[in-house]
């Protein structure tokens, strides 16, 4: 709907803005455009169908080491010009910082990734509607206790972005993903449990209704009858998706920005053991298996594989151009941004290097433990500066290697530092999550589970 250029045109627009740099001034234009379709099904009907098209531009100006930024949620010419003018004006009020400055081409070759789903743009809307309706039917037909869904959804997104700077960056790329998501409601004896199941991919052929429905039904029904456990010490068994969540928290602490500002508990620890020697992980957006795979970062540098922890030893941090320069290293191609923000630093494709043993084999070795299937309160219960960790958990108790009764309304408390060091087993069961993270089963002994 929004009149916006595609492909090379988007790069042309970014370039035209960057080319307006005045002497002594650096200008960067980040231009993005996306379309998406979302279908929500409920009780055999289409509850809503959304067709969305968005486009926008973010402009960064650096002059005398002062940085200003402005964005517009449209690509019409007047708005683009206003964004440039505002960014220039904003730069006047920021304080100079010798490390401010745009990215410059660093010679790293872009990974040969093809992230564009060729068939997806041609799929008729009716087919997408059919998937959402079928997903609801499949979910409610699997178990008599699953009497309904909160929502069954199909969603896709196709996006392209260009970055051009007066320092010589000129890049453009595009990608797309689609997913199915269902929230199943399981009811038994007056009690209701809700849980979601997902299937994620690029093309429609990557998606599986059975995978999403089975997952939602299993997760909702296995928690029926859950009770509050007694307070005790247990061995935690994290499912791959829970490991991915914990890994995401750790990834945030290995962010060069947090490190520079003294906000990371790992800031002085490069070269030291911060985790069990069993644990290694990377942030590798060049791995096409990750849905976080990406060719360029938010400043237009090629994405690359960054090893963060090898055999428990911290290898380094993720950097964008600013944090790399200021810390005396270089960008690791980890600039993260949207149209409406300046580049931050973030991991996009964290993955644990698989260890040994299947999920079942690791469970079998646990005498008295808790298989964690969901964690709540992460945004309030995990302090990214101190590493203090206190979250609500649900899951299934493990006794003598076998799954036992479900529990809810309990918490686990530790620190992230301690959890990493105490890892006793790393599974081989690598699973890729919708957020681009790759998780495996982890076993962590001797953690306090608080209940009644």
């Amino acid at each position: 709907m929004t009149e916006a250029p595609t492909g090379p045109d988007l790069l042309d627009l970014a370039t035209r803005v960057a080319d307006q740099a005045r002497p002594g001034e650096q200008v960067e234009a980040f231009v993005a455009r996306s379309t998406s379709t979302t279908v929500r099904a409920y009780q055999g009907e289409v509850e809503s169908l959304t067709q969305a098209a968005t486009a926008g531009i973010g402009v960064r100006v650096v002059v005398d080491h002062r940085e200003g930024f402005a964005y517009a949620g449209t690509l019409d010419e007047a708005a683009v010009q206003e964004a440039l003018d505002e960014a220039r004006d904003n730069a006047r009020y920021a304080e100079p910082d010798e490390f401010n400055g745009l990215a410059e081409p660093d010679g790293v070759e872009p990974a040969p990734l093809d992230l564009w789903p060729k068939d997806l743009p041609e799929v008729p809307t009716a087919e997408k509607v059919g998937l959402a309706l079928e997903l609801e039917r499949a979910t409610t037909g699997r178990d008599p206790r699953v009497k309904g869904v909160r929502v069954a959804m199909y969603s896709d997104g196709l996006g392209e972005a260009a970055v051009a700077t007066s320092t010589g960056i000129r890049v453009w790329d595009r990608s797309g993903t689609s997913y199915l998501m269902v929230q199943a409601l399981a009811t038994d004896d007056g009690e209701t449990q809700i849980a979601s199941g997902l299937s994620v991919g690029r093309e429609l052929t990557d998606l599986s209704i059975d995978e999403a429905a089975d997952d939602a039904v299993l997760r909702a029904t296995r928690l029926l009858g859950a009770a509050k456990p007694a307070t005790q010490r247990v061995t935690l068994v994290l499912e791959p998706r829970m490991t991915a969540t914990v890994l995401g928290l750790v990834g945030g602490m290995l962010n060069g920005e947090a490190v520079l500002k003294g906000r990371s508990p790992f800031r002085d620890r490069v070269g030291e053991a911060i985790a069990s020697p069993l644990l290694s992980f990377v942030d590798d957006p060049t791995d096409p298996r990750s849905l976080g795979a990406d060719v360029y970062d938010g400043e237009g540098l090629a994405r690359r594989r960054n090893e963060l922890v090898r055999d428990g030893v911290l290898q380094g941090f993720l950097q964008n151009t600013y944090t790399g320069r200021r810390s005396g290293t270089a960008s690791t191609g980890s600039a993260a941004r949207g149209v409406s923000s300046t580049p931050g630093v973030a991991a996009v494709a964290l993955a644990v290097t698989p260890g040994q043993g299947t999920h079942e084999e690791l469970l079998a070795g646990v005498e008295r433990g808790l298989l964690v299937t969901s964690m709540a309160g992460l945004h309030s219960g995990v302090n990214p500066v101190s590493g203090d960790f206190s979250v609500g958990v649900e899951g299934l108790m493990v006794r003598d290697g076998a799954l036992a009764e479900p529990i809810r309304e309990a918490t686990i408390a530790s620190t992230l530092q301690r959890l990493l060091l105490d890892i006793a087993a790393v599974g081989a069961d690598l699973e890729w999550l919708p957020d681009g993270t790759g998780g495996v089963t982890l076993v962590i002994p001797d953690v306090t589970l608080s209940g009644s």
Binding site: E47, A52, G68, Y93, L185, Q193, D388, G392
Partner: protein
């Protein structure tokens, strides 16, 4: 914001192939932000988002499309996309006669932030930073953020509604980090109101900085939080999020209708201690969740949800209210023109009760006093919730003693509501919040008097 003729032609196009209701939501939002971090004003950001979302409702199906192109051509294209999405059957031409409605504004804004120089906004950050750093030598890092937004919206629909609102919000927050032998601790304080720059005539920026720093310093000497089930006293204004999470979400009609709420089918029942009266109030002047009309054009209302412990009503948006044939309650909100509205809270609070706050503490032999709760999360189907304590103390022998480090509280909404055994007479509103639901964030407020929950699980600190 948009010519009336343009609106009428857009709505007519949206209904050209039939439909029960067509709606256009136009938004023009300008925002400015500044961040001071690590002793430096890092950057200033200006943003402008302008566009329209068009929805067509046919039976139980909603078609939705949005566009940033507010010309006739752009609007007609979006209207047709929304109509096609709603798979409308019928047909026929419908004239839409619009009647402009003026909703009373909860209060007037006296200083529009766009009229204030950027230098003046930056100066506030410098003052907050200096105040926080001077609070103690252990303060090692300070981040101060300033943000303002002016969001003008227009809503028109084929029922003839035409209304507008102009929402101005201004916020300043400070996060301080203190470093000591026990590691790093953080303290946070913020002030935000649905007002303009006059906010800073009334609230002292230095004090915001100092309070953030003092919270961080206090936690340096804090003991690990105990773990287990114990009485928890929540301080005035510090724990509104408990009610937002523990029962507010469960009273949203969309979740209730789908059986995803523990409060479904319980209207008229005693769900809480008789001392509890819970209100959601979009008219509360200047509060973070206040507005003149919601994002579907309903006038903001004060809605009593629980009266003296009895569940009286849920919160409603246009879709659910139409389906039930009842009035809306002014709770239809959306993050932006790019989002479909749904049932959302505004300012949610518990009225003051009969008890003396000092007596509440004195009659608690052993427990935890929570001065400030952090963010929270709830599973509406089971009512189980979790939220963080950002400032808390031990209660020993009926007195507040040592500070404890942050940890989570976990409990079950309906159980907590029914078990509250003391409600203070000292009501206060809390800090501005952002509530997330299905990926959309909207500004909300909350408030509580001092109150006691006899048994909550404290997650503890390792």
């Amino acid at each position: 914001m948009l010519d009336q003729d343009l609106i009428q032609r857009t709505l007519a196009a949206a209904l050209r192939t039939g439909g029960d209701l067509a709606e256009i939501f136009v938004e023009d939002k300008a925002s400015s932000n500044a961040v001071l971090d690590d002793g430096k004003v890092e950057h200033l950001t200006s943003g402008r988002d302008r566009g329209a979302g068009i929805r067509v409702i046919v039976g139980d199906t909603t078609g939705f499309a949005h566009t940033a192109d507010l010309t006739l051509a752009g609007l007609l294209e979006a209207a047709e996309a929304a109509a096609a999405a709603a798979r409308s059957g019928g047909g026929g031409v419908r004239e839409v006669a619009l009647e402009r409605q003026h909703a009373p504004r909860p209060h007037e804004v006296s200083v529009l932030p766009e009229t204030v120089g950027k230098g003046e906004k930056v100066e506030l950050l410098r003052r907050a930073d200096a105040a926080a750093r001077s609070a103690g030598a252990a303060i090692s890092q300070v981040t101060a953020r300033y943000g303002d937004s002016r969001r003008r919206i227009l809503i028109a629909n084929s029922d003839g509604l035409l209304t507008e609102d102009d929402q101005v919000r201004t916020l300043l927050s400070v996060m301080a980090v203190a470093t000591g032998d026990t590691g790093m601790q953080t303290g946070y304080q913020s002030i935000g109101r649905t007002v303009g720059f006059e906010l800073f005539d009334r609230y002292d920026v230095d004090q915001i900085g100092r309070e953030a720093a003092e919270r961080a310093l206090l936690k340096l000497s804090a003991r690990p939080a105990p773990s287990g089930t114990m009485p928890v006293v929540i301080g005035p204004g510090g724990g509104g999020v408990l009610f937002h999470e523990a029962c507010g979400h469960g009273l949203e009609a969309d979740l209730v209708a789908k059986g995803a709420s523990v409060f479904a089918g319980r209207i008229g029942e005693q769900v809480a201690d008789p001392r509890i009266t819970l209100v959601d109030d979009g008219t509360m002047a200047e509060e973070w969740g206040a507005f003149a009309v919601d994002d579907e054009g309903s006038v903001a209302q004060r809605n009593v949800l629980i009266q003296d412990g009895i569940l009286t009503d849920y919160m409603w948006d246009l879709l659910r209210a139409r389906k039930e044939g009842r009035p809306r309650s002014g709770n239809g909100r959306r993050q932006s023109y790019k989002h479909l509205p749904m049932v959302r809270m505004t300012n949610t609070y518990v009225l003051a009760g009969p008890d003396d706050p000092e007596d509440i503490i004195a009659s608690t032999p052993k427990g935890v006093y929570v001065a400030h709760l952090g963010g929270g999360q709830v599973n509406t189907a089971t009512g189980d919730f979790v939220f963080g304590m950002t400032e808390a103390y031990l209660i020993e022998d009926g007195r507040i003693t040592e500070p404890i480090r942050e940890g989570n509280l976990i409990g079950n909404g309906p159980e907590v509501l029914a078990s509250i055994d003391a409600v203070g007479n000292d009501f206060a509103m809390g800090s501005p919040g952002m509530c997330g639901k299905d990926g959309q964030g909207v500004p909300v407020g909350d408030g509580v008097p001092t109150l006691r929950v006899p048994a909550l699980t404290v997650g503890g600190t390792a």
